[in-house]
């Protein structure tokens, strides 16, 4: 048995070993190579640049995790998280937050600064770095979302490996992490990209409405309906996910079947977010705010989706089996049955009170008013 310090204060046990430093250097290199491309702005890059950047991120994280956890007894090791700047709101923690937020701002509002070529122009900078990888996968130049997908998947794989090391004593966490790593790589990243290569619509089979908020958009439905049997299958699959697969699995296993086994958001939260869990607000107030927020967002997304569907069917007349009247009936039956179910079986759903049922029915009535308004 090696000499192991179980001290919870910073001491020799928390000094970075050579393998951990090498690992961190590789991760920095992995993110730095594309970033250099961003600064340089050259239009053509070799494939090995992006491929080796991704490989460096994953290998670096693996080296770091090995240095950090192997040799220590298996079991949750959170020693020192309150002592490090990165995980206790120190300078490096804030720096990371600002960089990440800045990246998202550019990604959503100003992708041209990441190098996205506008109106047919070739990509430059960061996005051009990933052009060869995109060409390889789908025979199209990269978009800002392709770059984001590559980095997101690389991050889940890299920090998933670290999580696997940290939780190697727990078979549940090992299987769960392998599952989110698989779903992110295959379902969220590779399959949609390869579908595009085969001239099929971009479709993430595990990304269901309302998380997939464009599922009810007219352009998306038209795209699916214009893509033959495959498109029709995607449409039916998407509806089945929302109304059959998800409710049944959630009833038996809880929302974790999606949030921590399948979903990419949960995947990142459980891998990249793991060293930061202790910073979350555990107060009752925070939980109350969270509940109001998630339900308000759910209500808004249902309302917006209905509005979008409504105008879609308004324009398309009687072309489709589904009409505006059908929508109104659908809302009535859906909210009525959920309300009745909650009301009569509220003891089964700990905490559901009549007040919740009234809130739900009220929300349904507002949505119905939205559908019922004739123009």
């Amino acid at each position: 048995m090696t000499n192991v310090s179980l001290s919870i204060t910073p001491d020799t046990a928390h000094r970075l070993k050579l393998s951990m430093r090498t690992g961190l250097a590789l991760v920095v290199l992995g993110f730095g190579m594309p970033a250099l491309g961003w600064l340089q702005g050259r239009p053509a890059y070799p494939l090995w640049l992006s491929a080796s950047a991704v490989a460096a991120i994953i290998a670096g994280a693996w080296l770091f995790a090995r240095g950090r956890y192997s040799g220590l007894p298996a079991g949750i090791q959170n020693n020192g998280v309150w002592m490090r700047a990165l995980t206790n709101r120190g300078v490096s923690g804030w720096l990371l937050a600002v960089v990440l937020t800045g990246f998202y701002v550019l990604l959503y509002w100003w992708p041209q600064y990441l190098g996205l070529g506008r109106s047919g122009a070739a990509n430059t900078g960061l996005i051009a770095v990933f052009d060869p990888l995109s060409q390889l996968l789908k025979k199209q130049p990269a978009s800002e979302w392709f770059v984001y997908g590559v980095l997101y998947t690389a991050l889940i794989l890299a920090l998933g490996v670290k999580f696997l090391y940290k939780y190697r004593h727990n078979r549940y966490q090992m299987l769960r992490t392998a599952s989110v790593m698989f779903f992110q790589t295959a379902f969220a990243f590779l399959i949609p990209e390869l579908l595009q290569r085969l001239n099929q619509p971009f479709f993430d089979f595990k990304n269901m409405w309302p998380l997939n908020y464009y599922f009810t958009d007219g352009w998306f439905i038209k795209q699916l309906l214009g893509s033959g049997n495959m498109g029709l299958f995607m449409l039916i699959w998407g509806v089945l996910m929302v109304f059959v697969i998800s409710p049944v699995l959630t009833y038996f296993y809880g929302k974790r079947w999606y949030c921590s086994w399948v979903c990419g958001c949960g995947g990142l939260a459980e891998t990249a977010g793991d060293p930061f869990r202790h910073l979350s607000d555990k107060s009752l107030r925070a939980w109350n705010i969270e509940r109001w927020l998630v339900h308000a967002v759910l209500f808004l997304s249902v309302a917006m989706s209905l509005a979008v569907l409504y105008s879609f069917f308004l324009k398309s007349g009687d072309t489709y089996l589904v009409t505006r009247d059908f929508l109104a009936w659908f809302v009535t039956v859906l909210f009525g049955s959920i309300g009745a179910f909650l009301f009569f079986r509220r003891r089964r759903f700990a905490g559901a009170t009549p007040r919740h049922v009234y809130l739900l029915l009220g929300a349904g009535a507002v949505l119905l008013a939205l559908c019922g308004g004739r123009s």
Partner: protein
């Protein structure tokens, strides 16, 4: 203990007792123990012994003064229980009990069955019921240990009646409500063993050891019991809601 001896490489090799005896060892575990820190109350009107003396309502010798937690010493502890139980579970229960009293419902302290759980370095530990350091003559024990030495299960029961008396677990989790129900109803050891899946509280996909423990029992008793109840939440809910 007087001294810990160094092996010349910065590691311990022996401990010397206050009687001068030298005990060779490769590891020293220091247990300082817990004692109520009530020195500042010694010369007051409050009646104290090792801790602050309280009755079953946690009332001290002075009106409107209560004591709860590590500092409280029960004048009449329940049979088989200690007067001072300095663990946080009992501290929390005393706090809840006292909250009832202070808000107008005078409530006696009832800690239920003895239980505790903690972590020794990275090995989790749980105990339910009566597990003594030395097995009394009227008790029998059933023990199972994982080959890796990091998991073990011990069940103690009455030698004559077979009544279950205690659970002791290292690296394995059992469900509190189920163990408490078995202990309170005085379930038979064979009934417990055949339904041991009800007690399994490890995370999903963990190896299950109920069968191993049952086989140990069959070996030592010459019986041929079969495991009737495997792990499962709905069976647990049915069991707990039965009466």
């Amino acid at each position: 203990m007087r001294e810990i001896l160094d092996d010349g490489h910065g590691k311990c090799c022996a401990a010397v007792t206050n009687h001068g005896e030298t005990i060779a060892c490769g590891f020293v575990g220091l247990t300082a123990g817990v004692s109520p820190n009530i020195g500042f109350l010694k010369n007051t009107a409050l009646e104290t012994n090792r801790g602050i003396l309280v009755n079953e309502y946690l009332e001290t010798s002075l009106p409107d003064v209560y004591a709860a937690g590590d500092c409280a010493e029960l004048r009449r502890p329940a049979p088989g229980r200690r007067a001072i139980e300095a663990v946080w579970y009992t501290g929390r229960m005393m706090g809840e009990t006292l909250a009832h009293t202070l808000t107008g419902q005078r409530t006696a302290y009832d800690p239920g069955i003895w239980f505790n759980s903690a972590k020794f370095f990275d090995i989790e530990y749980q105990v339910y019921g009566d597990i003594r350091p030395e097995l009394p003559d009227d008790q029998a024990t059933l023990y199972w240990e994982h080959p890796d030495g990091k998991k073990s299960i011990r069940l103690n029961y009455a030698r004559q009646t077979g009544r279950i008396l205690g659970f002791n677990l290292l690296g394995v989790r059992y469900r509190h409500e189920v163990c408490a129900r078995w202990l309170q109803t005085g379930a038979h050891i064979e009934d417990v063993l055949q339904h041991l899946g009800l007690a399994n509280f490890d995370p999903e996909f963990y190896p299950q050891h109920e069968q191993d423990l049952l086989e140990n029992y069959n070996r030592q008793s010459g019986k041929n019991l079969l495991l009737k109840q495997k792990r499962g939440l709905s069976a647990v809910l049915r069991f707990l809601n039965r009466n």
